[in-house]
Symmetry: C2
């Protein structure tokens, strides 16, 4: 069999297996798989370098299905290369199968979960950046993209960054099958609309017929020769190619074929070609030189912004651990990632104002076991929430630092104030949410984040606040800290970050009135210190929580959830930002939001009075 | 004075006033204002048509500062056109002033809040779409954009949609001052990198010197002549133009000038030119013909997906109210916005897979008092969270419908399952969050959303569920419904959406064991029915909540917050999705998540037993 004959046969096999897989539970996306089958057949047979027996080989190429719904095609590839057997292929979408509806890294050859469109390519950019600048291994990253997902701005962020990063190790393959879920895409088969945009972004673009295996071969060969920029292959294909009942037909998206047996016959029947994918020579990643870890320390009472402590601490952590890298969204002089950038320029990535690409690049780098810390204003991570959500599905380990949280930022006003980030980040599967109130605590938490699995989030404050804790004190994730207590406290004020300082101030006022308030610094918002909070509730009864955040989903509700099933449930009063803030001085805005020392003291008085009346 | 002399003088005045405004609280972005001053001087003097005395005039042009941090320039314009006086200008960024750090619609001439970059242009696309297809009034939309924000993919979504919509009523002006917050942008002064991309997207692009008032005049004149596509003016400017201490200098972003007096002198001193902006002739918007409202009704026990009821109800609401419009993210056959599209094609907007542009267009349309309903899979609204957050700052009124919520969607797996949307949407300022469990209830809630101020969100379910309520029953926002109760209930199960059905099933099992469970349908998650839940807690004591969502920020915590300050606080057990789901049948996934009838019954038994032991 000639190469072209084998590729065509292999393409048909991948189609047949896609149809068979989708037939199992009568669900999935066979037609979206069939359009890209020839593109993938040539790739795996001739160009991909990947040791499927050793998925951890650092020199492996990466194949990322940005169009994750073409999972039947991906799993059919895994069968063709011998990674899974036919029996497992036919567990597709069944409960408990590794072959989920959209790919996830439960399978060792899947780098990241896809299925939310527009994410695979930006993540591929992150992997390719790691290859160029961190691993320094000449693996290639192949990203199969759908044409529908080209409507996502994140894809164009990816093109820009791939070009800016001179990522000639990245090949994006756009499967232009013309049809989206409910009809034709914006550009149909106008291949030029894609090549024009790709070239405008500085990419090398090649338009081909996506079922012409010779043209596909030529395009890949050309991509290998391109230097200094990524290649975008724009392939005209037919959705459902090869089966007349669905080929280039509307209404056939996301559905198993009505008559799989007939379709398989039309495609020439079941085949069992095996592909012996080329294996790369094992190469070890570059190792950055390291030194001793000396976390920064600050003097008690010193005024230091926690965002500054983040920068200091991350730099120290990076000195000790060469796998720590930092990325920032063009605000490093605000988040203080700039301190890391100055100390470790080779491990710093400027992602400009593209928060989706910022998080996607972080996810891509952790695919290769780097430890990324991504920073921006906390408010602007809302831009990347879908990427953060999907990072959890990817079982990714990334650290995120959001600065300028809450109304306490002052004059810049609500567009720059994160007031929803605690809710957003708590509602991420398996996440860790930290909110330090002083610089020494911040340093310890940053160090802990570098060792933490999953998505961890640090909320920092714009303004300088006094150091409350001695350098060297421990702040375990999942803990809390009693900052002020007596044997006869009347209530507990639970605070975090900026409000710890307001709570302390309020407790002094209250002390002068004969009300003794325990103050708990709940720096670990998730996981939360159930035992510590329960003990405080038992000791003092009433609880007042106070946070620079909307009332929903933040500290107050986290505390309520922690105490919900106690035998003696305390009365809990939640102070949070009451209405839409404007501009003003931090103190004015904390007061207007109802979360400054005065409002805390007032709420405490009422709570104690209510308790006394009972 | 010649036109060009006046424009140059006016440009200097706008600079001087920007410097003066920022000097008040020593904060703000004067240098980002100074770069665009000449561009705006020519615009307001010759091209803008806006009646500042009648901001509600439907024929007014719209001027949107996508680079919202150039607010000193915008407010200086308002002074020059006589909308505000000098005294108010000098309240910039003070507490209580309408002149916030970034523009918000507290000022009647500001359409939408900006300040989160990359949003003004996509929203401008929405306003321009309204002009073309809804209002049918030839107003123009002028969007001043920063070069830094061109790194946001949302800007390229906007270009694509502006081109696809043939929006020749839209002019984007890119102020290429080369310098971002912490250094040079990705493209510096490479104007061609912007024109090339804009042209690739099908826009008409013009590159000019941004301080050459004659060139600016010519560019605007050219833009007015372009037909069938938007114009993008790419202007090379100097940040801090006119003041040597900051002109084209790094480190001068977001800071008041050190020596404002010297700067004002260097700029030629304070001026008081008044601009008499051309007023458009008042034109009334197009009125779509309407008919009687006949909400759909469904028979008890009939199996109907709430997403289907959404489509039916929205269509009915749209028949009665010609200002209701629908937008969808290329999944209208899943969200069932397709029913509206078929009935009201002139008021339906296909936004393709670009959720940021989807929400931005909705925000833009409501600027012109249209009532947009935006739909997609609930999971994919995470992509637009920054836009939703900012819509609240804009005091926008938009309705969002998110389908396919939770693990109950089945085989598609976690990438398509919204498990964080309740948390995300509750944590939006002033939002409304609704989650119906049957088709008749959905119809009523959709009708209520059309009259609701602010951001309202409807969570719908993929699978068909039995109709529980008679057609015509009322479901006020802020209410709840007791679905099952006796005089001697042992506990209350609070559910919403899909879990109402599981809870009812569990209650039947429990009844057979002598445990009487009250079941409350908490369809209004925000505002929540504090009185109704308190009454249930008082009647039954223990409460069990159950939701198809992560445990954080959803129904359970909303219930906890509602009951936190009761005199007798019930024990509350929160059932929610316990771990990362995979693929499987809906029933298998509900069971694996620990939220099906069996798990509910089990948790209820334990809760009742615990209560009995005390």
């Amino acid at each position: 069999m000639s190469d072209t004959e084998r590729w065509s046969e292999l393409g048909q096999q991948l189609r047949v297996d896609s149809v068979r897989a989708a037939a199992v539970t009568k669900s999935g996306h066979p037609t979206s798989s069939m359009s890209a089958a020839d593109l993938m057949a040539v790739l795996i047979d001739k160009y991909l370098r990947h040791d499927f027996d050793d998925p951890e080989n650092p020199a492996n190429d990466h194949l990322i299905f940005s169009k994750g719904h073409a999972s039947p095609l991906l799993y059919s590839i895994y069968k063709a290369v011998g990674a899974i057997d036919d029996e497992e292929l036919l567990t597709f979408r069944k409960f408990g199968s590794r072959l989920e509806g959209h790919p996830t890294p439960i399978l060792p050859w899947v780098d990241v979960a896809t299925g939310s469109l527009g994410q695979g390519l930006p993540i591929a950019v992150g992997v390719a950046l790691a290859g160029k600048r961190l691993d320094r291994i000449p693996y290639r990253v192949w990203a199969l993209c759908g044409d529908s997902e080209m409507a996502e701005g994140s894809m164009w962020e990816a093109f820009e960054h791939a070009s800016y990063g001179e990522l000639d190790n990245l090949v994006a393959i756009i499967d232009v099958n013309r049809l989206g879920q409910r009809g034709e895409t914006m550009h149909g088969w106008d291949l030029d609309s894609y090549t024009r945009r790709a070239e405008a972004c500085g990419c090398h673009a090649i338009a081909i017929g996506g079922h012409d295996v010779e043209a596909i071969d030529k395009a890949y060969a050309e991509a290998l020769e391109v230097e200094g920029r990524p290649t975008v292959i724009v392939a005209r294909t037919l959705k459902g190619k090869g089966v007349a009942a669905v080929e280039d037909k509307g209404g056939a998206h996301g559905k198993a074929l009505d008559d799989p047996e007939a379709a398989i016959a039309e495609l020439g029947g079941v085949r069992d070609l095996k592909v012996d994918v080329a294996k790369p020579e094992r190469t070890e990643p570059y190792v950055f030189s390291t030194g001793a870890r000396e976390l920064p320390s600050y003097d008690l009472g010193e005024e230091v912004a926690t965002r500054k402590a983040y920068g200091d601490a991350l730099t120290a952590v990076g000195t000790a651990d060469g796998r720590v890298v930092a990325l920032d969204g063009e605000v490093s002089n605000s988040t203080h990632a700039d301190i890391f950038a100055a100390a470790h320029p080779d491990r710093f990535f400027e992602m400009f104002i593209a928060e989706q690409q910022l998080v996607a690049a972080a996810v891509g780098m952790q695919v290769r076991d780097w430890k990324p810390f991504a920073s921006s204003f906390a408010a602007f991570f809302t831009r990347a929430y879908d990427f953060i959500r999907m990072a959890a599905v990817s079982r990714a380990t990334i650290a995120i630092s959001g600065s300028h949280a809450g109304v306490s930022i002052g004059e810049d006003g609500p567009s720059q104030m994160a007031l929803e980030d605690l809710a957003m980040m708590r509602a991420v599967g398996g996440s860790t949410v930290l909110y330090p109130c002083d610089a020494n605590q911040t340093a310890k938490l940053v160090a802990a984040m570098a060792e933490r699995q999953g998505i961890s989030y640090l909320r920092t404050t714009r303004g300088a606040t006094p150091v409350l804790y001695e350098a060297g004190e421990d702040f375990p994730i999942g803990g809390s800290r009693v900052v002020r207590a007596t044997d006869e406290d009347d209530l507990t004020i639970v605070a975090a970050g900026i409000t710890v300082h307001e709570a302390l101030s309020a407790s002094q006022t209250l002390a002068g009135e004969g009300i003794s308030a325990r103050v708990v610094d709940c720096y670990s918002v998730k996981p939360i210190d159930v035992a510590g909070l329960s003990a405080a509730a038992e000791a003092t009864g009433a609880i007042l929580t106070v946070e620079d955040h909307w009332p929903e989903g933040g500290l107050g509700e986290a505390v309520l959830a922690a105490l919900a099933t106690l035998d003696e449930r305390p009365r809990v009063e939640v102070l949070a930002v009451a209405g839409m803030p404007g501009s003003g001085k931090p103190a004015e805005l904390l007061a207007a939001a109802g979360i400054d020392a005065e409002h805390i003291a007032d709420a405490a008085r009422k709570l104690v009075r209510a308790a006394a009346l009972r």
